[in-house]
């Protein structure tokens, strides 16, 4: 009985912190990419990507060597798109790779501004 209760609690804890790729949803906004840091299942899955910010963004996924795995097109403010990926177990960087200039000529680099997130994909 005690073992059963322990296993239940453990499963509950794991379920709270890890999502499957099919359930993964990432929101793009200025200064951040919101979404899970851990994905439980590797393989071909589809992410839902939504721009919740004021400006246009993209989502680019690179592996730990910098190789681009997948990328969305331009996602306008308020729009949502999907991204189909085939991920091996490992660590990936999800980021927005838009660079622009403001009216005073200052560069606005979305990656440098915080729009990146490291995501671990389990076996």
């Amino acid at each position: 009985m005690r073992r059963l209760m322990f296993a239940s609690v453990l499963l509950l804890m794991v379920g709270c912190s890890v999502e499957t790729a099919a359930d993964a949803h990432y929101a793009l906004r200025e200064g951040a990419i919101d979404g899970p840091d851990r994905l439980s299942a590797a393989g071909q899955e589809t992410f839902r990507v939504q721009n919740t910010g004021e400006f246009s963004h993209t989502l680019v996924i690179t592996d730990d060597t910098g190789q681009v795995i997948a990328a969305t097109g331009l996602v306008e403010s308020g729009e949502q798109t999907s991204l189909r990926v085939d991920l091996d177990p490992g660590k990936y960087v999800f980021s927005c790779r838009i660079v622009s200039q403001d009216g005073e000529g200052n560069l606005i680099d979305h990656f440098e501004g915080g729009m990146h997130r490291t995501v671990s994909v389990g076996t």
Binding site: V60, G66, V68, A70, A71, L74, I98, S100
Partner: protein
């Protein structure tokens, strides 16, 4: 100091290496790369009148995937990727930037194939970076096409040690080695300095000990020399004493023996016999006197003096001195001072007075006067013993030839006598010993007209003092 400077340089170099490494390995944003590349491409396009040539030169210079030239509507008018010419910018952000003359870069999948040198290199769906930068003259924009993966590889690789950092680390190591060498050298020098300081300290200490030892040796040498001189002096005195004894004893003894033989072997008249006997008696008395003095001095030296101290008044002392006078000696009348008392041995004092009188008569005085007073009668040329603060004085004044200046300092010494003296050299010495034992002093003042010996005795009670009438 030098080691510290080297250590500081080492630390500075190491810190600089760390800073360089951190700066070199910190991922930079693509924006700076894009701005620089776009400026290069724009410059080439501005220099050339042929857009097609300009975009090719820019692509080759920048070593990127493609360079295109867009008009204000976002339509490609020249490109190193032929199929793009005449096509509008598909990306909405790119198109908006072209029309608004803004800078923008977007990494995303392209909608159409990208040709490079007539070959499809990046098919539609590939992830490319498309950068658009307005030209300075406001006439269109330049668009750069990057492969995102290759673009990222252009960034500094975290974990890769940069050459500048390696050089700085080498410099730090060099300074470190130099600092270590200097430090070791300094440590050795410091250790040697401490050793030398300790040796110097030891030598100083040893030198001080040697100096003290030398002083001690010098002192001992002086003492030894003094002792040797004293021993030599004693030997001399003893030799002289032996000679004196030989002379002083043999002379009267020979006279006695000769007189006795004369009486035994020669027929003498009664008058002659009486003369011989008188001479023998006189010589015998002389012998007895000498022997008595020698024995008295020896007894005093060996056992000290045994005194019979009594408190006598000044008047009693004057009377006692008068009784100690010798034939031919006149005693000066002293003032009567019944309130002055002296604690002394009157008998011993009488012997001293008698000795001083005999000494004067022996050395050529015709008259000798003995007097008592409460005030000093002379300015002493020589004084032995400690004169009491409150004293009674006894003076022995003669009219002899005086004491030779050379002999005067030794007049109270044992066996010392002037060259023409017939005495034993013990009389004044014995007088000195007795007076010193009585806590008094003995002094002398002499001149060719005569000498004055003065005894000063402590007055134990002076109730009245009067001026001495001489």
């Amino acid at each position: 100091m030098l080691a510290g400077v080297c250590a500081a340089l080492t630390a500075t170099s190491a810190i600089a290496a760390i800073v360089v490494q951190r700066q070199s390995t910190t991922p930079i944003g693509e924006g700076q790369v894009f701005v620089a590349d776009a400026a290069t491409a724009a410059g080439m396009i501005a220099e050339s009148t042929d857009p097609d040539t300009a975009v090719r030169r820019a692509r080759n210079a920048l070593e990127i995937e493609a360079v295109s030239l867009l008009d204000d509507q976002g339509v490609v008018i020249a490109s190193t990727s032929g199929p793009l010419v005449g096509e509008p910018a598909h990306d909405q952000l790119i198109a908006a930037a072209a029309s608004d003359h803004r800078f923008v870069a977007v990494a995303s999948s392209v909608d159409q194939d990208l040709w490079l040198d007539g070959v499809v290199q990046w098919p539609a769906g590939s992830v490319l970076y498309q950068v658009i930068s307005p030209l300075d003259d406001g006439d269109g924009s330049v668009m750069l096409h990057y492969d995102v993966s290759r673009l990222l590889s252009r960034r500094a690789q975290p974990g890769v040690i940069q050459s500048d950092a390696i050089q700085l680390l080498g410099l730090a190591a060099l300074f470190g080695v130099f600092a270590a060498v200097v430090f070791v050298g300094h440590a050795r020098a410091a250790r040697r300095y401490r050793e030398v300081a300790q040796e110097s300290k030891f030598l100083r200490s040893h030198s001080q000990e040697l100096e003290a030892a030398n002083k001690s040796l010098d002192k001992a040498r002086h003492q030894a020399e003094d002792a040797l001189a004293l021993a030599e002096e004693k030997i001399r005195i003893r030799s002289e004493f032996v000679l004196m004894i030989n002379h002083e004893l043999r002379t009267p003894l020979t006279s006695v023996v000769t007189g006795a033989e004369l009486l035994r072997s020669t027929e003498l008249s009664g008058q002659e016999r009486a003369l011989v006997l008188d001479a023998m008696v006189a010589d015998g008395a002389r012998l007895q006197e000498i022997i008595d003095q020698i024995l008295a001095v020896a007894r005093i030296e060996n056992r000290g003096l045994a005194y019979d101290l009594t408190e006598v008044s000044f008047d009693e002392l004057s009377a006692a001195m008068a009784s100690a006078h010798h034939a031919g000696v006149s005693v000066l009348p002293g003032e009567s001072l019944p309130e002055v008392f002296v604690r002394t041995d009157v008998g011993a004092l009488g012997l001293v007075a008698a000795s001083l009188v005999d000494n004067a008569l022996t050395h050529g005085a015709d008259s000798v006067a003995v007097g008592c007073s409460t005030r000093s009668q002379i300015e002493p040329q020589l004084e032995v013993g400690d004169r009491p603060e409150e004293a009674v004085f006894i003076t022995v004044t003669d009219d002899g030839p005086g004491i030779d200046d050379e002999f005067l300092p030794r007049v109270f010494e044992k066996f010392e006598k002037s060259s023409f003296s017939s005495g034993t050299g013990l009389g004044l010495y014995m007088a000195r010993m007795i007076i010193e034992a009585l806590d008094g002093s003995l002094s002398v003042q002499t001149s060719p007209a005569g000498s004055v010996f003065q005894i000063a005795l402590p007055a134990v009670s002076v109730r009245q003092r009067a001026v001495v009438a001489t």
